[in-house]
């Protein structure tokens, strides 16, 4: 019988701890327990038989750490083969008459995935895939992915299982005392992601005892539409008379687990510190009980690597600003690969309170597949909001979804058969909440009825792909009322019908409605209110629009969705109408003083970022951009730089000033990209932290200062191979290259880079820096210059640049 068939009408019991039992049999600290499958099969069979005898249905093979990072391929296969054979031998030898299954056990790799570790997502998928393939080949009945404490690694393991076998897959995570995974994921976010990807059962193991895990398990039971697994520890270990004992004994353990089975847990076992006695007690107390049915929860949600966002009565704001349409500066950022600018658009929207970020980076002149993958990855490194991946390029969509850490929102599918056939398989495989546009081969129907008919067709097709209604959110398409006076009505009527008759959530790109009209915010915010009243669940909008945000907060307060009107009051207290904002004139008058030549200079020296930006914007009304740079910003930077060299200014102040200057430069850059004429930039400068080294704070400081001083900096990032650096220097014919290393172990990589530069780019001057470097080291590895700090790099670069001009 298949384990899933058995699960339909029965509680399933799993085994308990293995590590503590093996230690009692003589496993040494630091020894690989997986090798015991080959070296001491009789011990493994004996212990696993004890679990079957105790009543367990599922025994996990002794393969927790069996992966290609720890064992070579040949040994790995031997281990997995023996482990499955051992578990099957235990099943055959057991006197138990229950249904028995052998699960291929997969634990974490022990490495952390990028961006915070050095393990690439696809590499992780490949490592797990190899274990899965051997497990299938040697006859495992199912796969048990367990003790995962990082959501991204869990995704890699589940994806590997799904892509390499058709066996049932159970997934279990290890939560800390704070109720989250080590890397921050909540139970709701894990349920969203794992269910979306098609895990057959999900749950919780290790870390804590059953009482301490109860609240996490209850969250699983509340959110999950698949069976829930519970495999807790026997509490916490203590030392008594030189022996390790766990503080929860079988009687208490089985009471607690039985209590959670009564609340709906369907698969129960034990983890660290538990023994066959614990499992036997659980079986005894719950055997023959009729299990609670697993109910569909119909939760519409998306998730990030920390939390889930649910669609319900309170509307969701999706930030629209990561999108090049109609934005010159954003297009420039895409073309120049200026990821920081794009990230900043994400961060500022987060500050404004959006719950989801739309990400659209489509531009004909760039490689959208690579750019979308990169932007999503970088956004997920620093922003914990779920993303709405917005592209019409199916390949770009697949790559982004594959690497997305969580359950993404997918923008979009439409009623065209070809489009549905391309998008729905991705939704099924990677999970996601997909935005469905009510248009098809015949275009956008003028009437509400026409749009609803398309919605019904989309739902039917989705069903044939195994995608549930809860994972589809309809966009009934806001069209310009300037072109068709009935446009708003058709959109809102269709919305109402889809929400109330079809029972689906809805979303709109609100601002299209006012296209071609003056004072668009007035139309947009009123239309937004109409749509909300008719059942709009989410809006893709600009959170910087005060009028839109007013409608949002007012709607929530009026509908009783905002306790004590708290959010509204908070919003209103911060909301300042445009006309009343502090004028720069006041600012100028207030802050100029005798010590500094101008207010801008003072703002830069003091490191006042916002003021520096505002003052620059004001100055730009009358002064040429380059004049501001030459007469205001550079002299201010010089004051700070000189102070730093004379040790009257410390590093933080130097950086704060540099940031203020950068904010001034951002205004100047914006004004120049609307005017003609290029800045008289200084020469190009290629910058990198060398291969093997991931420290980049020093390098980033150098970059910031060089940019401040007008150099055209290309930052290749960290852990950069010599070949990549050489290639870039050659491509730009760059006269300057800066290399950074923090560890003694990576200085050889720096030496190798210099060696290659000497051969391939003999014109290039190489400046080196970093914590371990000294003048002596720099001489030995053949650098042109050792810079002890960022200012010295700038001074040297200025020197070389002046030489070039002569």
């Amino acid at each position: 019988m298949n384990v899933l068939d058995y699960l339909k009408n029965n509680i399933i019991y799993m085994d308990g701890g293995m590590g503590t039992l093996l230690q009692a049999e003589g496993l040494q600290p630091g020894e690989h327990p997986e090798r015991w499958n080959l070296e001491h099969p009789e011990v493994i069979i004996k212990l696993q038989k004890m679990y079957f005898d105790a009543g367990a249905n599922i025994i996990n093979t002794n393969t927790f750490g069996a992966n290609s990072l720890k064992f070579d391929q040949e040994e790995l296969e031997e281990i997995i083969k023996a482990a499955i054979a051992n578990a099957k031998a235990a099943a055959a030898a057991s006197t138990g008459v229950q249904e028995k299954f052998v699960a291929l056990d997969i634990g974490p790799s022990g490495r952390l995935l990028k961006p915070y570790g050095d393990f690439d997502f696809e590499e992780a998928v490949a490592v797990f895939a190899e274990t899965v393939r051997f497990g299938v080949k040697h006859g495992a009945d199912m796969v048990f992915i367990e003790t995962m404490n990082d959501s991204y690694e869990t995704k890699a393991a589940l994806l590997a299982a799904k892509e390499n076998c058709h066996l049932p897959v159970f997934v279990s995570n290890a939560y800390g005392e704070d109720g989250k995974l080590m890397t921050g994921a909540s139970p709701a976010s894990m349920v969203a992601m794992l269910e979306g990807m098609g895990a057959d059962a999900i749950g919780v193991n290790c870390s804590l005892g059953p009482k301490a895990l109860a609240s996490v398990v209850e969250q699983y039971l509340e959110k999950a539409s698949v069976p829930v697994v519970l495999k807790p520890n026997a509490g916490l270990p203590r030392e008594v008379d030189g022996k390790t004992v766990f503080d929860v004994l079988p009687d208490e353990f089985s009471d607690d687990v039985a209590g959670l089975i009564a609340k709906g847990v369907r698969i129960a076992g034990g983890c660290c510190g538990t023994t066959p006695a614990y499992i036997e007690a659980v079986v005894e107390k719950t055997k023959g009980r009729k299990p609670l049915p697993v109910e569909k929860k119909n939760i519409t949600c998306v998730s990030s690597y920390t939390h889930a966002v649910e669609f319900g009565a309170s509307p969701i704001i999706i930030g629209e600003r990561i999108n090049p349409t109609g934005k010159k500066r954003f297009k420039q950022a895409l073309v120049e690969n200026d990821i920081d600018y794009i990230l900043n658009e994400g961060l500022t929207q987060q500050e404004k309170g959006v719950q989801i970020l739309d990400v659209n980076v489509g531009l004909p002149e760039i490689d959208e597949v690579e750019m979308l993958k990169k932007v999503c990855f970088e956004l997920q490194a620093i922003i914990d909001l779920p993303l709405q991946i917005d592209t019409s390029d199916v390949a770009a969509m697949e790559q982004a979804l594959r690497r997305y850490n969580g359950k993404a929102m997918i923008n979009s599918v439409n009623g065209k058969q070809e489009n549905m056939d391309a998008i729905f398989p991705l939704v099924k495989k990677y999970g996601g909440l997909v935005v469905a546009l009510t248009l098809d081969e015949g275009g956008i129907p003028d009437t509400a009825a026409g749009r609803v008919a398309i919605a019904e067709k989309i739902l039917k097709t989705a069903e044939s792909y195994g995608i549930e209604k809860k994972d589809i959110i309809f966009d009934t398409l806001a069209m310009a009322i300037s072109a068709d006076p009935n446009a708003a009505k058709a959109t809102v009527d269709a919305l109402h019908e889809i929400k109330h008759r079809l029972g689906c959530h809805t979303s709109l790109g609100v601002s299209n409605i006012s296209f071609g009209l003056p004072n668009r915010d007035a139309i947009n915010s009123t239309f937004f209110a109409m749509a909300l009243e008719n059942g709009l669940s989410a809006a893709i909008m600009n959170p910087f629009s005060g009028d839109m945000m007013k409608t949002y907060f007012a709607y929530r307060a009026l509908h009783g969705l905002d306790e004590n009107c708290g959010d509204y009051i908070d919003f209103a207290s911060k909301y300042v109408p445009a006309a009343a904002a502090t004028t720069v004139t006041q600012l100028t008058a207030a802050s100029a003083s005798e010590e500094y030549k101008s207010a801008l200079q003072k703002a830069v020296v003091k490191g006042l970022k916002d003021q520096a930006g505002e003052l620059t914007a004001k100055l730009l009304e009358e002064t040429a951009p380059l004049e501001i740079v030459q007469n205001e910003i550079i002299p201010a930077l010089d004051i700070v730089g000189k102070g730093y060299e004379e040790k009257t200014v410390y590093l933080p102040q130097l950086l704060m000033a540099a940031e203020a200057a950068k904010s001034a430069f951002e205004k100047i850059k914006a004004s120049m990209s609307t005017e003609k004429g290029e800045a008289a930039a200084k020469c190009s400068f290629v910058l990198a932290t060398v291969k093997g080294d991931i420290h980049d704070i020093g390098k980033n400081i150098v970059k910031l200062l060089l940019e401040n001083y007008g150099f055209d900096v290309t930052d290749l990032g960290r852990d950069v191979a010599p070949e990549v650096i050489v290639e870039e220097v050659k491509k730009q014919h760059a006269p300057l290259c800066g290399l950074s290393a923090l560890m003694t172990t990576t200085v050889p990589a720096m030496e190798e880079t210099i060696k290659q530069l000497r051969v391939e780019a003999p014109w290039c001057k190489v400046v080196v820096g970093g914590a371990v470097l000294t003048q002596d080291y720099a001489d030995r590895i053949g650098a042109d210059k050792y810079a002890k700090d960022a200012m010295e790099s700038v001074r040297y670069a200025d020197e070389i640049n002046a030489g070039l001009r002569e």
Partner: protein
């Protein structure tokens, strides 16, 4: 047996924090102090303080040390473990959120990134201090004392030893700490160290920098 524990936040040593950022405590400007405080309050609630550890015997032959789980040659550690027959091996981390903050501000605000780096350094050192103090107190019952901690990468103790440490302490499972291929740790604000258990109380050197050979160090006391 390998133990694991989550600690309460140890008190913040602002002086050390500013020093790690490159500021002299008394001379920091108002703006610098304000930014330091702002960074501290932004991150404080998000940190977690976890340690896992075990107690091991050590056998010595010349400068060759045998801990059972690892054998290494190190003159520096041999000197440090004079008079010790046992050690405590520990790994400590303040979690991933500090790395997220550093990364978030790396380009957005390098000044804040610098302060987060400094706060991370101060926090993990304070956690190690709190852990060693607690262990030291417990050992007093046995009439034993702890030596100063010593980490792979200090002096001539090879960084390679990290692999053995991670295997025996099971750091990834116990406290969510992982080792990269280049032997660096993630989360980055983490420490692994060996602490000698001695029958005699260790007398702190007046100049704790005296033993270090980096004469050019900005932090040299």
């Amino acid at each position: 047996m390998i133990w694991a524990k989550t600690y309460a936040a140890p008190p913040v040593n602002e002086r050390e924090g500013l020093r790690y950022a490159g500021c002299h405590f008394r001379e920091a400007t108002v703006e610098e102090r304000q930014l330091f405080e702002a960074c501290l309050s932004e991150i404080q609630g998000k940190l977690s303080y976890k340690v896992c550890w075990g107690r091991f015997p050590v056998k010595k032959e010349g400068i060759c040390l045998d801990f059972g789980f690892s054998q290494v040659d190190s003159a520096g550690l041999t000197k440090n473990l004079e008079g010790c027959e046992e050690i405590i091996l520990f790994a400590a981390t303040i979690g991933l959120e500090i790395d997220r903050a550093i990364r978030k501000y790396t380009n957005l605000s390098p000044a804040k990134a610098l302060f987060f780096q400094a706060i991370g350094a101060e926090r993990i050192e304070s956690l190690c201090d709190a852990f060693c103090e607690e262990q030291g107190k417990a050992l007093q019952a046995e009439g034993k004392f702890l030596k100063p901690r010593f980490s792979p990468g200090y002096g001539d103790l090879p960084l390679e030893m990290q692999k053995d440490i991670f295997r025996v302490l099971d750091c990834s499972r116990k406290i969510g700490l992982t080792l990269n291929e280049s032997l660096l740790m993630s989360p980055s604000k983490s420490v692994t160290a060996i602490v000698g258990i001695s029958g005699e109380e260790y007398q702190k050197e007046k100049n704790k920098c005296g033993a270090c050979q980096n004469l050019d160090c900005a932090f040299r006391g």
